[in-house]
Amino acid sequence: MAIDKRVGSAAEALADVGDGAIVFITGFGGAGFPNLLIRALRDRAPKDLTLVVNSATHRYSLTHELIEAGLVRKVICSAARGHGKELSPFEQLWKAGKIELVCLPQGTFTECIRAGGAGIPAFYTAVGCGTELARGKEVRSFEGRDYVLERAITGDVALVRADTADRYGNLTFRYAQLNFGPVMATAAKLVVAEVRAVTSEPIPPERVQLPGTFVDRVVTVPA
């Protein structure tokens, strides 16, 4: 059967995401948040999710809706600070002991996901050495310098925001939308992309920024 990864709705694209899923969410600085998919996941409401997301509290991401809805058991991120004087929904639940938090340096966060998607179970990095974020982690010296052992991250589903797709799932990104899309798409069993538009013709090979072989389902964001 001819490959066609287009799906009619975000709800359909996430129909088999279950309780306890480890969910990657792209986006950084306002660019590349898959907010259509995040809201569809909230409506589907699987429980005990682990979110792997750069920021648990970015004001332009709808990640907070998953947290407020009580669907999240654990967050792995590099930023979890709210913006206002009031505690953010994440901070309230974290302080109440209802959400577990793993905070990683951002480059380590990315590399854990990259490694997970590339079949590498762990790696050493100098980042974090001598800090609280390396507490309890194995340290090994190479050529006289200390490095921390970090474990790879893999997951069940990745929610990826991109600009255009074709029926094969090939993706292009606008500007800084790219951020975590490529690494997260390699590390999840199910990869769902939301895009501004699906092109009728295949995307020219040299313009593909994330090959469709890493993408399972594509949803178009309504204009």
Binding site: F28, R81, P105, Q106, Y175, A176, N179
Partner: protein, 230 residues
């Protein structure tokens, strides 16, 4: 404004910018450091890298040209300079961690005499942690410069013998630009390169939490008048 007043935040960024030389790849941290881009010396051509993957960040976009997909690590809507490129996060941090950034200019809470840096966690009760790329930048850049006030608002020194706040990275800071002085971190500790006119060595030492030495050619820190826009 008299030349002997402490530098304002824009003037501190101006002073750091005077040390940015032609052809460098520079990462500017959120806060005071991003203003460095406004005060480069004439003819200096550099690439500013932003940790979200922008290589060649330009000035802020005007409101009518602002694009929500074209942002820097501080969520500011920016433009691109000629020759810019955009990469994904893994590539961006390979660039940072792999020593491909010449200078990382960061804000800080404390710097220790051995170059230890504390700039990510002030231990504010109940607030969630926010480390972002701070540790990667402090460890991976070829040189780390810090821009920060010489003391806290309460007058406590920020240049200290040992950091009291959680560390970002150990032994990484090479130079510190404060509102009172330009201070190098050397194997012998803090060495003052420039200081505000009207301040004595004893004045500066009294506002510093670790011993100071003074470079033989220690100069005057004399910024032009710049309105503090922050």
């Amino acid at each position: 404004m008299s030349a002997t007043e402490p530098l304002n935040r824009r003037q501190m960024a101006w002073r750091a910018a005077q040390d940015v030389t032609d052809g460098l790849v520079v990462n500017l941290g959120i806060g005071m450091p991003v203003n460095v881009a406004d005060y480069l010396r004439p003819g200096i051509d550099v690439f500013f890298q932003s940790e979200n993957g922008v290589i060649g960040a330009g000035p802020l976009a005007s409101p009518e040209r602002a694009d929500p997909d074209l942002v820097d690590a501080g969520s500011r809507r920016i433009t691109l300079r000629p020759g810019a490129a955009i990469v994904d996060s893994a590539w961006s941090f390979a660039m940072i961690r792999g020593g491909h950034i010449d200078v990382s200019i960061l804000g800080a809470f404390e710097v220790a005499a051995n170059g230890d840096l504390a700039n990510w966690d002030m231990r504010v009760p109940n607030k969630g942690p926010l480390v972002g790329g701070a540790m990667d930048l402090a460890v991976g850049a070829r040189a780390v410069w810090v821009i920060m006030e010489h003391t806290t608002r309460a007058g406590a020194p920020r240049l200290v013998e040992a950091c009291t706040l959680p560390l970002t990275a150990t032994r990484c800071v090479r130079r510190v630009y404060t509102d009172l002085a330009v201070v190098d971190v050397t194997p012998e500790g803090f060495r003052v390169r420039e200081m505000l006119a009207g301040l004595t060595q004893a004045d500066l030492a009294a506002r510093t939490g670790a011993p100071l030495t003074f470079a033989p050619d220690c100069g005057r820190l004399a910024p032009p008048p710049i309105a503090n826009a922050d």
